[in-house]
Symmetry: C2
Subunit: 245 residues, 2 copies
């Protein structure tokens, strides 16, 4: 059966998350319904990253099979038309070989986290960034990143519900950039533990506001204990931006 790779953008606010669930509408189910409305066949959509409720994407990747071949531009237009008015958009469609698996074949995932650090609440970026009214020192946050880079046991930053076989992961990238009142944290790894990025952002937030030193972050990581890890940053600021193959 012809298999297609889709790159997807979404505002995650109205959804229960990527993954199909009984308690509400997911992004996965929305795309499956739109694909079915187009082709008349029921098809399963498999994504590279299971983003949580409220988490966004500018570069999620998924794959699906159709019984017959279609022009990729037709697939893109048709699924997008059937998705409306959902805040989901198919950015591109490529025909792939039958063995391609968006999840298993992913070599790296990149996430971006957006903090807006100002006194005034968010109006335009409401739901699409984390509003932090307490002043954050982004230089201190940046200086703390080397403690988390590379291979570690990330149990401290792992959600209770995480189903990964091992807590050992390797961060290939972790940067903190500051533009006016925005602080952007970018991280890349082959794969992440459940809520790992939001938990790391929560810990960097403690460093930024001066509650933690870099040393505290190191101690927290070494404790391998979620209780020592600081808060979980809200989903609002998190974007899955890229999946590499």
């Amino acid at each position: 059966m012809p298999r297609y790779k889709l790159t997807v953008e979404y505002d995650g606010k109205p959804f229960v998350g990527w993954q199909k669930q009984k308690n509400g509408l997911s992004i996965q189910e929305s795309i499956e319904d739109a694909a079915c409305a187009f082709s008349g066949e029921k098809t399963n959509v498999y994504g590279a990253g299971r983003t949580d409720s409220g988490v966004h994407a500018t570069g999620q990747v998924c794959h699906l099979d159709f019984q017959k071949s279609y022009d990729v531009a037709v697939i893109q237009s048709a699924i997008n038309a059937h998705l409306r008015p959902a805040t989901i958009s198919i950015l591109s469609v490529h025909a792939t070989n039958d063995n391609f698996d968006s999840r298993r074949d992913a070599k790296a995932r990149t996430y971006r986290y957006k903090i807006i650090n100002r006194r005034a609440p968010l109006a335009i970026e409401s739901g699409r960034a984390w509003w932090c009214p307490v002043s954050l020192n982004s230089k201190k946050m940046e200086n703390a990143t080397p403690y988390l880079l590379g291979q570690h046991d990330f149990s401290t930053f792992r959600a209770k519900e995480c189903q990964a076989a091992s807590p050992i992961k390797t961060l290939d990238l972790l940067t903190v950039e500051h533009f006016q009142d925005e602080i952007i944290i970018t991280t890349k790894a082959r794969s992440f533990l459940h809520k790992q990025v939001r938990n790391i952002v929560g810990a960097l937030y403690l460093v930024g506001k001066g509650s933690w030193t870099e040393k505290n972050l190191k101690t927290a990581l070494e404790s391998k204990n979620r209780q020592e890890g600081g808060p979980t940053a809200p989903p609002d600021g998190l974007y899955l931006t890229k999946v590499d193959y």
Copy 2:
């Protein structure tokens, strides 16, 4: 009576526009209600720019009077608290002299218009940019701007309902910038005619997609006839970004 100058950000999508109207909730009325909930007094709020329904602001300026003096940080926090969950945020508050008038004293207004030029519909920026699926040549749009810069009779780009005394306005700035799939048009003038920015963007769009040459734009301007001016760009992409005093 103590007078205060407020700088305001808003997502204009849910509102009938800046100006109070009988047919729905305006930004002006929302701020007046929040100010009254804080101070217990009815007060009028006067804005520098009467943005239309769906138009946004990152730097609208307005003024209001209270019967007594308050700390500016208290005014900001209290009005913002009472505004929730409206997509309006008071960015700053300054005490001014009694003669300050946000509208009359404005020396210049700056607007930014955001086009996203790509095949895929907007998910994350839906309602906050103009989605143009037809390929636009931003270089051609940029090359056409000198015809509109400076002082002209802008009747071609003036809405029927415009109440300005004269159609003659002076554009001090009109730029077109291209970043990846975003085209940003920025313009600045002492004041603008009703829908002038959106009508100019509509004309530049015709130039960008090749329906008009620069010469067509010049002819349209010289016709002083709205019928010759091309389409009106949607409110979604328009932001009032700055008011100078």
